[in-house]
């Protein structure tokens, strides 16, 4: 909110996987301090959007902007160093590595060791369980603990914006609830959050704004409140296959 440019922005972005037109004219603005969500069913282009924002996929046309700078041709490491961090779907920890090593890798691009230690202390404050498990192989942790380590690892990069890929995917219902509370906590601590979700009600209950993606196009773009009350919300992205 201090800068005039949105933190992260997509302007008229088209993306292809070979001949498949995965994103068509997508426009998104993520402002500093917001908690926003991108909703959509399977194969609607949600993950593609994330990949494009991070630089794992180059848009065929259009622009991805970070702080107003066009970053289409910048590598992932550049964007990570500028504060864009993703928490991947299904956590994807380095399971053979210890919890501490996972957290260290989150801070891979940083060299300010005192700050890193401070941030690690903050992660422990947020997730005391993580501290207890520090020297264990992360693969030996329970699902809920792994989720904490995944969030902790992301926070270790000092993200300005956290991209969350399907935070509710593959988690037991009680853990989904816990996870969304953690996301809210992180957001309240000052990190911008961009969340990609299938679980629309859950995501919208904590988000400020949201978009609904359908076969690569943004079909709805509104505040969370309006989206929740939108009569066509379910139909517009889940079709008949309602998973709630």
């Amino acid at each position: 909110m201090t800068t005039t440019n949105p933190l992260l922005e997509m302007r008229n972005v088209h993306a292809h996987y070979g001949a498949v037109h995965a994103l068509a004219d997508v426009n998104l603005q993520i402002n500093e301090g917001e908690l926003v969500c991108l909703l959509g069913g399977n194969a609607s282009g949600k993950s593609t959007t994330l990949k494009t924002l991070l630089g794992m996929l180059k848009p065929t046309s259009g622009e991805v902007l970070l702080d107003g700078e066009v970053v289409n041709d910048k590598p992932i490491s550049y964007r990570v160093s500028k504060g864009v961090t993703m928490v991947p779907e299904n956590r994807r920890l380095f399971k053979r590595l210890t919890v501490r090593e996972n957290l260290d890798l989150g801070a891979y691009l940083r060299s300010d060791s005192t700050q890193i230690n401070n941030d690690m202390e903050q992660v422990f404050e947020l997730f005391p369980r993580v501290k207890e498990r520090l020297s264990q192989k992360s693969g030996s942790l329970s699902g809920g603990e792994q989720q904490m380590v995944a969030l902790g690892r992301a926070l270790m990069s000092r993200p300005r914006v956290l991209l969350m890929d399907e935070p509710s995917m593959g988690l037991a219902p009680a853990l989904v609830q816990q996870n969304f509370e953690l996301i809210q906590q992180i957001h309240e601590a000052g990190t911008t959050v961009f969340m990609v979700e299938q679980n629309a009600n859950m995501a919208l209950s904590i988000a400020d704004r949201g978009w609904v993606l359908q076969t690569g196009r943004v079909v709805l773009d509104d505040t969370a409140q309006n989206l929740l009350n939108h009569p066509n919300l379910q139909a517009s992205y889940l079709g008949t296959a309602d998973k709630q």
Partner: protein, 341 residues
């Protein structure tokens, strides 16, 4: 059975059990037995060094780099050229330790470079192809390196310069030959350095991260390509070290020398559990020990003739037995298949 017979024989040379199994077998003396163990460890340490390269590359790229044995050969050849040059200059005799260190450094550098160039030219363009493709390419690279050696140095066997007295077989420390002691010590030191690097440094962590999940490693900001290059460089360095030690121990080098140690080191990596550093070292020692001790201890008491020619057979028999009993190796690198959620 043979082992039991051997043990029985050790306890009492006239043991009826031992003489029943093989009436003609003669008991080994304590010194002979110790000699076999030491030469097994020295041999195994070199296999272990080479196996590290197979294992690390497999761990990070998922294919077997069959040209790795040839990197070992390049190391031995570099050492041969360098040590002969130093011998011509008179340094080899006057300052052996210093010369040996120079030769080691040079050979390690040349091998790292060879491995890195190999990755850039032959494997990187094939990164996203099925694993069989780089595997076949590596066989091609292997032929290329062998033939390059023939073109540059000729097809005949070359020799390292005369070693100082304390490295000759008749000189021993506590009953251990000096050359073998040097090999064991140098190999252990190299492995310790590698182990520390991979386990404790930032680069090492990045390597393990890329080996486990390259996509997520990239999300952490790790440069995956650069990390792979470092893995090849390290593996090459270890092979270079093994090449020098081989030269010091056996003195004779030839363009085809990389094949058999390469295959045995590959077996060692598999026996230990491919992708696992400790496994490569353990596997190397196991294979070295098996081929050194096995023929005399197991085959001879069983009444097999000409056992000393059967060392290769013993080494590969061990690989086969291991694959039958525990296909994932001594150290199992696989992760539990299911994600607890």
């Amino acid at each position: 059975m043979g082992l039991l017979a051997f043990i029985a024989q050790e306890i009492d040379p006239n043991n009826p059990f031992a003489s029943w199994v093989n009436p003609d077998a003669t008991g080994l003396t304590g010194a002979q037995f110790r000699g076999l163990i030491i030469s097994g460890i020295a041999q195994g340490a070199m296999y272990g060094l080479i196996a590290l390269g197979y294992s690390m590359v497999y761990g990070i790229l998922g294919f077997i780099n069959f040209a790795h044995g040839e990197v070992f050969m390049v190391g031995a050849m570099t050492g041969m050229i360098a040590s002969n040059k130093l011998a011509d200059a008179g340094l080899w005799e006057t300052n052996f330790i210093g010369s040996l260190l120079i030769v080691m450094l040079l050979s390690v550098l040349v091998c790292s470079l060879t491995a890195v160039v190999m990755e850039k030219v032959a494997y990187r363009p094939l990164r996203n192809t099925p694993r069989l493709i780089p595997l076949i390419t590596s066989i091609g690279v292997s032929f290329f390196l062998q033939n390059a050696s023939i073109v540059l140095l000729g097809p005949s066997a070359k020799s390292y310069p005369e070693m100082p007295d304390w490295l000759k077989d008749q000189y021993t420390f506590l009953g251990i030959s000096g050359a073998r002691l040097l090999v064991i010590f140098a190999a252990a030191a190299s492995m310790a350095v590698l182990w520390y690097y991979v386990e404790n440094t930032k680069n090492g962590k990045a390597m393990r991260a890329v080996a486990e999940d390259a996509e997520i490693a990239a999300l952490m900001g790790i440069n995956v390509n650069r990390t792979i290059v470092k893995v090849f460089a390290l593996g090459g360095a270890m092979a270079g070290m093994a090449g020098i030690l081989w030269g010091v121990l056996f003195r004779s080098v030839i363009h085809s020398m990389g094949f058999l140690p390469g295959i045995k080191a590959f077996s060692a990596a598999v026996v230990g559990g491919i992708g696992h550093l400790g496994g490569a070292m353990t596997g190397g020692l196991s294979i070295g020990m098996a081929e050194s001790v096995g023929p005399l201890m197991i085959l001879e008491p069983l009444g097999v003739n000409g056992v000393s020619q059967l060392r290769d057979a013993v080494a590969f028999a061990m690989l086969i037995v291991m694959l039958l009993l525990r296909p994932s190796g001594i150290f199992d690198e696989r992760l539990p298949a299911e994600d607890r959620t």
